[in-house]
Amino acid sequence: MTSFTLTMKRIIFGIFIIAVMTLTAVFAPLVAPYDPLEMDLSPEGRLKPPSPEHFFGTDNLGRDVFSRMLYGARISLSVGFIAVIISVCIGILLGGLSGYYGGRVDALIMRFVEVMYCFPTFFLIMMVITFLGPSIVNVMVVIGLTSWPGLCRLVRAEFLSLRERDFVSSAKVQGIPDRRIIFRHILPNAMAPVYVSATLSVGAAILVESALSFLGLGVQIPRPSWGNILTAGKNYLDYAWWLTFFPGIAILLTVLSFNLVGEGLRELLDPRLRKRK
């Protein structure tokens, strides 16, 4: 258990990094010193180490790595956020139905969740992408469609306990329709673990996107993403360390930040972990 101030420091650090990443991604065209696709194939333009002109050096085709990283951040972050939004929507819907109605609905949905758990998710994603063809949209949707089962169980557990609470019984006595009970009474009280889980999932989704792009199944070259910058760089690992170092650090920092914020939120929101003052 960590102290309150340490938790706050972690959250602030995480939010700071995420904010910097997000801002530079959003304003990439303004911040980027070069066009990320502009090549310089002259021998002196290629594989230049980091310098004041090229902060992160240039790659094997003479493109500015810093600019490519900024544009890559757009992909990584948007994949992270959109995939998680999809997964949260599905998780809340199925988990809510399951926990609220119980019985057969619950049994059916929970068996479906177990089936989803049986597949190694990453290979499932790879298989689907192979069939549908690699594109950013496909990557987002597929990550979203495969990452909801954990969240679904979480929401179900919350609903199971909340539906027995007296304020829900009272709403039933007063003839409030189920839909309203679910969305106005139960869901707002069930959101704390969802926030935590969603934040952690963003980090995980970014990792999956990077891995897919690294394998050539995500964002297609020449469009930059952190994953495919890494791939391009791995052939030059011996003498151009900057090609793999910077995207690696960016992925690490971003995922770490989301995890710090997620864990911090968990400690703040979960009364069982909260220290008495």
């Binding site: 019984s169 009272s170 039933k172 007063q174 309203r180």
Partner: protein
């Protein structure tokens, strides 16, 4: 009769495991019959686990009955035992009070007027209450809000499930008197559930004593307290501390 209950039954089945046959059911309510006249209070007493709350939950529509019949002639609403659990912590008081009105398409102006009226009935200042959240109130105030919520729909019957058991003794009397005044003013019919014999004696016209899902004795409050017939009633009465 406002409430008529005949041979009401509710069994809970506990599943032991996937392959083993289900065990004997817990007979929470096992053939309960009683009736309540308009404007009167029927007190249901018994130790915890005797099935009195289950009766309340069936009559209020939260639980389904397994067998028997009951009829309720009039609008009913319910007040719960724990005022900390019965108000949604994320809604402000006006939202809590007006929700059922909103759902039944009462106009916003009318809904507001009805909420003000209900809060005045429970002796709370409407202006100082409406925009606040449940956690800003004490237990007694919350229970008043819960009663106001039940009154907003202008019910004829109130099901009161241990409405004072979780409150300080000093506050209990205030709530009980409030309930009595409301009953007189609005000629409400009460089903009053409690484990506290003194509270039931104060509130009820007729008393039913419940044990293991059955009503073992049912008579007017005076008779029960002056000449209890059933041995269990006597045990309960002897257990009441006297001053």
């Amino acid at each position: 009769m406002m409430i008529e209950v005949t041979d009401l039954k509710k069994y809970f089945y506990k599943r032991k495991g996937f392959f083993s046959p289900s065990s004997d059911p817990v007979k929470a309510v096992d053939g309960v019959s009683f009736s309540v006249e308009k404007g009167s209070t029927f007190g249901l007493v018994g130790e915890s686990g005797c099935g009195k709350t289950t009766v309340a939950r069936i009559l209020s529509g939260i639980l389904e009955k397994d067998a028997g019949r009951f009829s309720i002639s009039g609008k009913r609403d319910m007040v719960f035992q724990d005022p900390f659990g019965s108000l949604n912590p994320r809604m402000h008081i006006y939202g809590i009070l007006s929700e059922s009105l909103k759902v039944s398409k009462v106009s916003p102006a009318e809904a507001r007027a009805r909420c003000v009226e209900a809060l005045e009935l429970v002796n709370l200042d409407p202006a100082g209450v409406m925009d606040k959240y449940p956690h800003q109130f004490s237990g007694g105030e919350r229970q008043r809000i819960a009663i106001a919520r039940a009154l907003v729909n202008r019910p004829e019957i109130l099901i009161l499930d241990e409405p004072v058991s979780s409150l300080d003794v000093s506050i209990q009397a205030g709530i009980l008197n409030l309930l009595k005044d409301l009953q007189e003013e609005k000629s409400l019919t009460y089903l009053f559930i409690s484990h506290d014999l003194r509270v039931v004696e104060f509130m009820s016209d007729t008393v039913g004593v419940m044990k293991n899902g059955k009503i073992v004795e049912c008579a007017s409050a005076k008779e029960i307290y002056s000449s209890p017939k059933h041995p269990y009633t006597r045990i309960l009465l002897e257990a009441v501390p006297s001053f």
